[in-house]
C-alpha cells in the first residue's frame, strides 16, 4: 500500500526542465529519501508534491486521491505536513504558539491546542523553551521547532526538506531519534537529505535525482552500489562510509 504515488511529474522554468517525468512511490510506513546533487530538482519536486508549486505535467496521488492543484492548507488537512528548507519560525510568536498554529487544524479551542503543543514540545525536547520567542532559538532547536510545527497538524505523511543540513552529528542524531519513533508509530516519512550517513542508515528506500531526472531507486545499499549513481553523485571514490 502506498502513501504517495508520483507519476510523470514535470516542471519547466523558462526553457530549463527542472524536473523531468519523475515517477516513484512512497510506501506507507516507510522512510523514503530523495537525494541528488544540488540543482537536481529535489526541492522543486518536493514543492510540487506539497502544493506550493503547480507542476506542468504529471500526477501526485496521496492515499489514492489525486492532489495536484489543491492548495497547501487543504493538503495539510488531508494529512500531509511539510517543513521548509529555509527555516520559517514565526518570529513574533513564542515557541509554543508556533506549534499551536498547526494544532488548530484539529481544534478551535486555544487551551486544547496549547495542551497538545506542549505534548509535542515535550517529545522533541523543547518543553523548557516553550515560552521563549521563537527567534531566540539556536539552529538545532529551530530545526526541532520546524518538526514540532509539522507534527502538530498530526500528519500521516511527513515531508522534511533538509532538516539535518548544517547540524552536528549529535544534533542530527536527536532528530533521527524522533523520526524513528514516529515511524514506529506508523508515520510515513519522505525526506530530502544531503547527510548520506543518515540516509544510508535509516532510509528504507532511496530515490536519486540528477538533472531533474530519476536515475536510480532502491534500497540504500543497492543505490550506493549503482555505477550511474556513483558516477553522477556519490563520486568515484564512493564517499559513502
Amino acid at each position: 500500500m502506498n502513501s504517495l504515488e508520483i507519476r510523470g511529474l514535470t516542471r519547466r522554468f523558462a526553457g530549463l526542465v527542472a524536473v523531468n517525468d519523475v515517477s516513484f512511490d512512497v510506501a506507507k510506513g516507510s522512510i523514503t529519501a530523495l537525494i541528488g546533487p544540488n540543482g537536481a530538482g529535489k526541492t522543486t519536486c518536493f514543492n510540487m508534491i506539497a502544493g506550493a508549486m503547480r507542476p506542468d505535467g504529471g500526477e501526485v496521488w496521496f492515499e489514492g486521491r489525486m492532489i495536484v492543484g489543491l492548495p497547501p492548507e487543504r493538503l495539510c488537512r488531508l494529512g500531509m505536513a511539510r517543513t521548509f528548507q529555509i527555516m520559517r519560525p514565526l518570529t513574533g510568536m513564542s515557541v509554543v504558539e508556533n506549534v499551536m498554529v498547526g494544532g488548530f487544524v484539529h481544534t478551535s479551542s486555544v487551551a486544547q491546542a496549547r495542551a497538545s503543543a506542549m505534548q509535542i514540545l515535550d517529545r522533541v525536547g523543547l518543553a523548557d523553551r516553550a515560552e521563549q520567542p521563537a527567534s531566540m532559538l539556536a539552529l538545532p532547536d529551530r530545526k526541532m521547532l520546524e518538526l514540532a510545527k509539522a507534527l502538530a497538524t498530526r500528519p500521516r505523511l511527513l515531508m522534511l526538506d533538509e532538516v539535518m543540513a548544517a547540524l552536528r552529528p549529535a544534533d542530527s542524531d536527536r532528530i533521527v531519534g524522533v523520526l524513528q519513533e514516529l515511524r514506529r508509530g506508523g508515520m510515513t516519512i519522505l525526506l530530502i537529505e544531503h547527510v548520506m550517513r543518515v540516509v544510508m542508515a535509516h532510509a528504507d528506500e532511496v530515490v536519486v535525482l540528477h538533472h531533474g531526472e530519476k536515475i536510480a531507486v532502491g534500497s540504500p545499499a543497492d543505490v550506493a552500489a549503482d555505477p550511474v549513481v556513483i558516477e553522477s553523485y556519490l563520486g568515484r571514490r564512493g564517499r559513502v562510509a
Binding site: 492548507e73 495539510c76 520559517r88 514565526l90 498554529v101 486555544v110 491546542a113 515560552e131
Partner: protein, 335 residues
C-alpha cells in the same frame, strides 16, 4: 506565572476604563471634547491594528470605510427617519462588504504588501471623487445634520453635548478593545499572527490564509464604519474631503504606530499621546502665526518615537508597569 501576568493585565485594563468613566465629574467641556477625540482616534486605531498589527495586512485606504459609515449616519436618520441605532447596522455592514470586495480582489490575485496598500488607496480615492460628483450625497457641499432641538433625547438621536459624546465614544472604544482582546486570544488571533509572520509557512500548517485575511478586513472595516458614524453624529457636518480624504487614512494609522503595532493597548496609548499634542500644536501654530508649526511638531514627534522605540511606546511602558514579562509580547512587527 503567565496566568498571574494575565490577571494583572485584565485588572489594569478594568481600572483604566473605570477611571475614565469617573473622570467627567471633574472635567469641563473642553477637556471632555479633546478626550472624546482621543477615544475616537483610539477606537479607529484598534480597528486598523486588527488588520495591520495582527493580520499583517497594510491598508492605507481606511478612509473609505470611515467615510461610508459617516455618510450612512448623516443620511439615514435625517432623510428617512431611521433610528440612528438601526443605522449603525448598515454603517458597519456596508464597509465590511466593501472591505470583503477589495480584499477578495487583492488576496485572490496575490496582491501583497505595499501593492495591496496601493489598491486600498485607489479605492478610497475613487470613493472620494465619486462622492464629490454625486448629487445624492451633496457633492463637495457635503451633508449637514439637522440642528438639535431643545427636546432632543440623546439616547434616541445618539447626539448630545460634550458629556454624551464622551461616554458614547468611551463605551465604543472599550467595546472595540474588548472585541480585539477576545479575538486575539482565540484561534483567529493565532492564525492572523501566523499569517503576519509568514503566510506561506502558515498555509503549510493548515491555516486558510485567504479566509482569515478576508475576516480581518471585514471586521476592521465594520468597526471603522461605526467610527465614521459616530464622527458624523458628533460633528454635525461632513464633506468628501473631511471623511473620505487620504488625510483620514494617514491620520488614523499614526496612533497605533506610535502606541505600538500589534499590541492590544498600543492604539489607545498612541491616541492619548497624539491627539492632545495635535490639538495643542494647532493652537500654538495659530496663536504664534507660524503656519505649519503644528505639522513640524507632529513630524518631530513621529521621528522621535520611531527612533527611540520602533515597536511603539506601549511595549516600553508595559515593561515599566510590569504588565509584560521579558519575553511576553503579543508581537510587534520587527521585534
Amino acid at each position: 506565572m503567565k496566568a498571574a501576568l494575565e490577571r494583572r493585565q485584565w485588572i489594569a485594563a478594568v481600572m483604566f476604563f473605570a477611571a475614565l468613566l469617573l473622570l467627567p465629574i471633574r472635567l469641563g467641556d473642553f477637556y471632555l471634547t479633546v478626550l472624546s477625540l482621543v477615544f475616537l482616534s483610539a477606537y479607529v486605531g484598534i480597528a486598523w491594528n486588527l488588520m495591520m498589527g495582527f493580520a499583517g495586512q497594510l491598508s492605507l485606504g481606511h478612509a473609505l470605510y470611515f467615510g461610508v459609515g459617516a455618510y450612512v449616519l448623516a443620511i439615514l436618520p435625517d432623510r428617512y427617519g431611521v433610528s440612528p441605532w438601526l443605522a449603525m447596522v448598515p454603517a458597519a455592514v456596508l464597509p465590511a462588504l466593501l472591505g470583503l470586495g477589495i480584499g477578495a480582489l487583492g488576496f485572490r490575485f496575490s496582491v501583497r504588501g505595499v501593492y495591496f496598500a496601493l489598491l486600498t488607496i485607489a479605492f478610497s480615492e475613487f470613493a472620494r471623487i465619486l462622492f464629490e460628483h454625486w448629487d445624492y450625497v451633496g457633492r463637495t457641499g457635503g451633508v449637514f445634520l439637522r440642528a438639535l432641538t431643545p427636546d432632543n433625547r440623546p439616547l434616541t438621536s445618539l447626539r448630545g453635548g460634550a458629556r454624551f459624546s464622551y461616554y458614547a465614544l468611551l463605551l465604543t472604544m472599550a467595546a472595540g478593545w474588548l472585541l480585539s482582546a477576545l479575538l486575539i486570544r482565540s484561534r483567529i488571533g493565532y492564525c492572523w499572527r501566523a499569517i503576519r509572520e509568514d503566510e506561506d509557512a502558515s498555509r503549510a500548517l493548515g491555516v486558510n490564509a485567504l479566509r482569515m485575511k478576508l475576516l480581518a478586513v471585514a471586521i476592521s472595516a465594520a468597526l471603522t464604519g461605526i467610527a465614521g458614524g459616530w464622527f458624523a453624529l458628533a460633528n454635525g457636518s461632513l464633506f468628501p474631503d473631511s471623511v473620505l480624504g487620504t488625510q483620514i487614512s494617514i491620520n488614523l494609522i499614526i496612533a497605533p504606530i506610535v502606541g505600538g503595532l500589534g499590541t492590544l493597548f498600543g492604539p489607545i496609548l498612541g491616541a492619548f499621546i497624539i491627539v492632545p499634542i495635535n490639538e495643542w500644536s494647532r493652537d500654538l501654530a495659530q496663536s504664534s502665526g507660524i503656519n505649519g508649526l503644528n505639522l513640524l511638531i507632529y513630524g518631530l514627534l513621529l521621528m522621535t518615537v520611531i527612533k527611540l522605540s520602533p515597536g511603539g511606546c506601549w511595549p516600553w511602558l508595559a515593561r515599566h508597569l510590569r504588565l509584560a514579562a521579558g519575553g511576553w509580547k503579543i508581537g510587534a512587527a520587527g521585534e
